[in-house]
């Protein structure tokens, strides 16, 4: 018996249907009621040559079985027993393994859907524990489309069972799943997470899957699974027309590529598995030379990733954005303290648009629960960017929380040459399969020379080796120190970078901007040092990507070093730029022109006011900046910004303006507010808030654009909005209202079906006895309904909510 291939089974659903399963019935319950039928199907696959059979448990989970009257564990156990009884009957005493088959839960995960990571984890843990107890030999997650859901399942499997874990996901022709997971990112993430076999099922036919499978093979050297459909279904009948022989012939390409586990999905039957078996086992060439060769030659690419994007760590320069970090940034600290995720998400989007390849996430704030904050920020950032992340913290708990939440493969920042630190952090790095930064220093003191740095590196490598972390996953930071204090260090750093990169062949990172701390015109020194360091082998610089000069230097270096083949990216970046600084002043001039133009047209004599009314953010910012030199901040708010918003509001009332225009004006005003807020918080940490209120879209509702519009407008009138998001349970709203001593709560619901949740929330707030007013709004809410459920105010639209807030906070 040749052991180089493992044969799986084929389709189950259609065979159950032809054995009497009716539409709408649960296949797993059908199995419990007709064990002989299911056992017979398993046996037919075993006779056809299957080495691994999938239990009839694909659709059983607590969410799909809610209200069905059946217990998930019992259904799982019964169906595993059926599969085991079939495996025991395998001819010639062949060893046939039973895979606990787990399909998607059936709901989309956050942020697009409402299913949380922890919920998904619990749903999977229940199935897994039951499956292992019933004697499954391994677990297969199949037909998955969301990498984050898979991660919840894999972690549940690793933490609550000792079963080997296999995963196959389902891709479309574009190489991605419906949920947006990319094949390379999936392979990389799951390989590093310790999944034993990785691949694809369902999706398409064998031929159409070739590009997707080759992408997977580039990023993992684990056994790869291919379990395709019997070609593409006939568009009219939805039936599969491919013959077993054609299927087997098309599959022949896979052993050569390096695939070792094969089977069939929709439209395949036992005859397909027999054909596959015969074709593969009879082809002596494939069996021996080619297949063995391809197994030996499989070299994979290293990298880090999100669910949708891989950054290869191949020595080319990849920029790590440093901006998500509260150190020395009052405004960022405030955002963290207030859980203002929008501010942080904006930081992520800005850096993504500026061209960062990876984002560093640091949320260290004295007195805060850093682990909880890390989880919250990682989820928020990943909802708006597809860049891979670097989890940056001093505490092991926050690092683990970040790695657990992060969909994809991350970098950990950082360990150093201290044993204690390594003992705390490296097991976590190992568990999640992350990359790790090693700082070339130790507790006893800063290294003074390149040699001392390299000694520290050796010490770090002893420890990462001991934990089995491959050297390609270790990134060395040779420490950039400011030349204003330790001038001689810059060259020592570069010498160490050169050694680590050239002689040790390892990746290097540096917090580049440290080099110029305390100097005027910092970016000159920073950019110059960056360029020299990249020449010495720095491939993962941690920088501020929003600084054009920094990214210009990276683009130039990539072109000069040949990383940017044919200078394509360089040309793209610079083709419309001119040397002259005219562009800046020209833009300013045209901006000013527009402002005066609109002020003429609107009959406003105040420049800031007309800029707000016209919705010109850039101008409002510039004008506010110059006004701040002659006027008090509060005066600008009271005399310029708010009156302008009032004019816009009135015109909107009179239906002279559309809602997007109202929002544009609000956004423009916010440019002014933000500047003032920054100034005030820099000066004395004070705040200009006119009052703090809660906004939330009620439980069960996911339509939150209306709530978000209200938020933007209220914020721009100077109110502090605690945005609890969408699908918010009443308990969370009550808890926050009490904790933060909130006087006004705004609730939104768009659907008649979620109105009861609004009523429940109002009741919960009243029952809690917390003194606050409640305003409600949303497409289906009426003033009558509002008063019938006990809400104090009905807000017709965003403008109305401002009037309500004014009233509520004036009464204070």
């Amino acid at each position: 018996m040749n052991q180089s291939f493992t044969y799986l089974d084929g389709g189950m659903g259609t065979m159950l249907q032809s054995a009497g399963l009716r539409p709408g019935d649960k296949p797993e319950v059908f199995g419990m009621q007709h064990p002989d039928v299911v056992r017979d199907i398993h046996l037919r696959y075993i006779e056809a040559g299957s080495d691994v059979i999938y239990s009839n448990t694909f659709g059983v989970n607590a969410h799909k079985y809610e209200g069905s009257g059946y217990d998930v564990s019992e259904v799982v156990k019964a169906n595993i027993s059926i599969a085991k009884s079939a495996a025991a009957l395998a001819p010639d005493g062949r060893k046939v393994r039973v895979a606990l088959d787990i399909g998607p839960i059936g709901e989309l995960m956050q942020p697009l859907g409402t299913l949380s990571f922890d919920e998904a984890y619990a749903v999977f843990a229940e199935i897994l524990t039951a499956g292992e107890a019933a004697g499954a030999d391994l677990v297969i997650f199949e037909t998955m489309t969301d990498l984050q859901e898979v991660r919840a399942g894999v972690l549940a499997a690793k933490e609550s069972t000792s079963l080997p874990v296999w995963v196959t996901m389902t891709f479309e022709e574009n190489g991605r799943t419906f949920a947006g997971t990319d094949a390379a990112a999936m392979a990389l993430t799951l390989d590093k997470l310790g999944v034993e076999a990785i691949g694809v099922n369902c999706s398409l036919g064998p031929e159409e899957l070739i590009p997707i499978v080759s992408e997977i093979l580039r990023y993992t050297d684990k056994p790869v699974i291919v379990k395709p459909n019997a070609g593409l279904p006939d568009p009219r009948t939805s039936l599969y027309a491919m013959t077993p022989q054609t299927f087997a012939r098309q599959m022949l390409v896979y052993p050569e590529m390096g695939v070792s586990i094969v089977g069939g999905c929709c439209g395949t039957q036992p005859s397909f598995i027999s054909a596959l078996h015969e074709t593969f086992e009879s082809d002596a060439v494939l069996k021996t030379e080619k297949h063995a060769d391809s197994e030996r030659m499989r070299e994979t690419v290293n990298g880090v990733c999100s669910c949708a994007r891989v950054a290869d760590l191949d020595g080319d320069v990849r920029v790590i954005g440093e901006r998500i970090n509260p150190t020395g940034k009052k405004r960022f600290q405030q955002a963290l303290a207030e859980h203002d995720m929008n501010y942080i998400m904006k930081c992520a989007i800005d850096q993504t648009q500026a061209g960062a390849d990876i984002l560093d996430i640091n949320v260290g704030l004295p007195g805060a629960d850093e682990a909880a904050l890390m989880k919250e920020v990682v989820f928020a950032v990943q909802s708006v960017t597809d860049l891979p992340l670097q989890i940056d913290s001093a505490t092991p708990e926050a690092i683990e929380a970040g790695l657990r939440a992060c969909c994809g493969r991350a970098i950990v920042n950082s360990v150093n040459a201290d044993e204690e630190r390594c003992q705390q952090i490296l097991p976590i790095v190992k568990k999640y399969g992350a990359c790790v930064i090693g700082l070339a220093l130790k507790k006893s003191g800063m290294p003074q020379t390149a040699k001392e740095r390299i000694e520290n590196v050796q010490k770090i490598l002893e420890m990462t080796d001991a934990y089995g972390i491959p050297r390609q996953d270790v990134i060395i930071d040779c420490l950039a120190l400011t030349i204003s204090a330790q001038q001689e260090q810059a060259m020592e750093t570069l010498r160490a970078v050169e050694y680590v990169s050239r002689d040790l062949g390892m990746h290097c990172t540096l917090g580049v901007s440290n080099i110029s701390f305390g100097l005027p015109m910092r970016k000159m020194a920073t950019v110059s040092f960056l360029t020299q360091a990249m020449y010495c082998g720095l491939d993962l610089p941690i920088v501020n990507p929003n600084q054009v000069e920094i990214m210009d230097a990276v683009a130039s270096f990539r072109a000069l070093s040949g990383q940017d083949a044919s200078c394509v990216s360089y040309i793209e970046r610079f083709k419309d730029r001119t040397d002259s600084p005219l562009t800046v002043s020209a833009a300013a001039a045209s901006g000013a022109g527009a402002a005066s133009g609109s002020s003429d047209a609107s009959g406003e004599d105040n420049a800031v006011r007309s800029a707000v009314i016209a919705g010109l953010s850039g101008e409002v910012r510039d004008l506010t900046r110059s006004l701040l030199e002659e006027k008090d901040a509060m005066e600008i708010i009271e005399q310029d910004l708010i009156p302008a918003l009032d004019v816009v509001g009135e015109r909107y009332e009179k239906q002279e303006l559309f809602l997007p225009q109202l929002i544009n004006a609000a956004n423009a005003a916010s440019a002014g507010f933000d500047l003032i807020k920054e100034r005030i918080s820099e000066k004395d940490g004070g705040s200009i808030s006119k009052g703090k209120l809660i906004l939330a879209t009620v439980e069960g509702d996911i339509h939150d654009i209306g709530k978000n519009i209200v938020k933007v407008v209220l914020e721009n009138y100077g109110y502090t909005v605690l945005d609890l998001g969408r699908d918010v349970p009443p308990s969370k709203i009550v808890e926050t209202a009490v904790q933060e001593d909130i006087r006004l709560v705004g609730l939104s619901a768009l659907m008649t079906t979620t109105l009861p949740a609004m009523e429940n929330t109002v009741r919960a707030l009243k029952d809690a006895g917390h003194p606050c007013s409640i305003m409600v709004g949303g497409a289906v809410v009426t003033p009558e309904y509002a008063s019938s459920i006990g809400a104090e105010y009905y807000a017709r639209d965003a403008r109305d909510s401002v009037e309500i807030a004014k009233k509520v906070f004036a009464d204070e």
Binding site: P23, E107, P235, I705, T752, V780
Partner: protein, 253 residues
């Protein structure tokens, strides 16, 4: 197999979605504001068109395979069928029809992510994008309907109006068995939240009858609409179903 496309983004509809159905296009505010809004709509509309990935799944069954209220009235123990559709509206819709079309369609998850991102960076654009996306999903559904009509016409058959769970007295929870029957999560990536809302949000389901004659259109009328007390169309003596392209005003319920 019909593969629907977004054929157009109806500007009139977009303006109505923005909340100004009561006024003509040209007496709304000053010209400079309006032209900026027009530009914004053009820009956002292009973004929606380029990021949408229209996917559609449908099946056609004999009406006899659907369990209607009248079947249960005749025989309270009637056996289960492909799908149960409750209420008078759907019964009226399928009255005289031989077959029923069950369809689900989505613009995909990438659009959903764009909307999310834009709500962080620019709420005004987010709103216009949202409205353009609603117009786009409507256009794709219309295109499906038009293409299917065309095919049927060749066989001398006609489509009834388009109906969806949540319209009239057909309960929203019908989405669950309907999408499950269409295998929509596997086929086009559409799933439901526990409260029966579709994710991605810019998705539609539709139920239509196929007749061998042109049927006088029978919608439930405003009386059965959950929005009747606050419908802005009604407030201005208009009817959403009178308006070309504006049929989905009630989808919100």
């Amino acid at each position: 197999m019909i593969t629907p496309k977004i054929t157009q983004l109806n500007r009139d509809l977009i303006f109505r979605y923005l909340g100004f159905q009561s006024r003509g296009l040209f007496d709304m505010g000053r010209a400079d504001h309006l032209s900026r809004l027009q530009e914004q709509i053009t820009r956002c509309g292009e973004m929606v068109l380029s990021i949408s990935d229209v996917r559609c799944v449908y099946r056609i069954h004999p009406v006899s395979s659907i369990l209607l209220d009248r079947d249960l009235e005749e025989d309270p123990d009637a056996p289960s069928k492909v799908l149960r559709l409750e209420g008078n509206d759907i019964r009226r819709l399928l009255d005289g029809a031989d077959e029923v079309v069950l369809m689900a369609l989505t613009l995909g998850a990438d659009l959903e992510r764009l909307l999310m991102r834009e709500e962080v960076t620019d709420m005004s654009d987010a709103m216009v994008l949202d409205v353009c996306a609603s117009a786009a999903v409507e256009s794709a559904a219309d295109d499906f309907e038009a293409k299917l009509s065309q095919e049927l016409l060749a066989e001398g058959k006609y489509l009834t109006n388009r109906f969806s769970p949540g319209y009239g007295d057909l309960p929203l929870h019908t989405q669950r068995p309907l999408l499950s029957h269409l295998n929509a999560s596997r086929a086009i990536g559409v799933t439901l939240t526990p409260t029966n809302l579709m994710v991605p949000r810019k998705s539609v389901t539709a139920i239509m009858g196929i007749c061998d004659h042109i049927k006088e259109q029978t919608l439930g009328g405003c009386g059965s609409c959950p929005l009747k007390t606050k419908c802005t169309y009604r407030a201005h003596h208009m009817r959403c179903y009178d308006m070309e392209q504006a049929k989905d005003c009630r989808k919100q319920s």
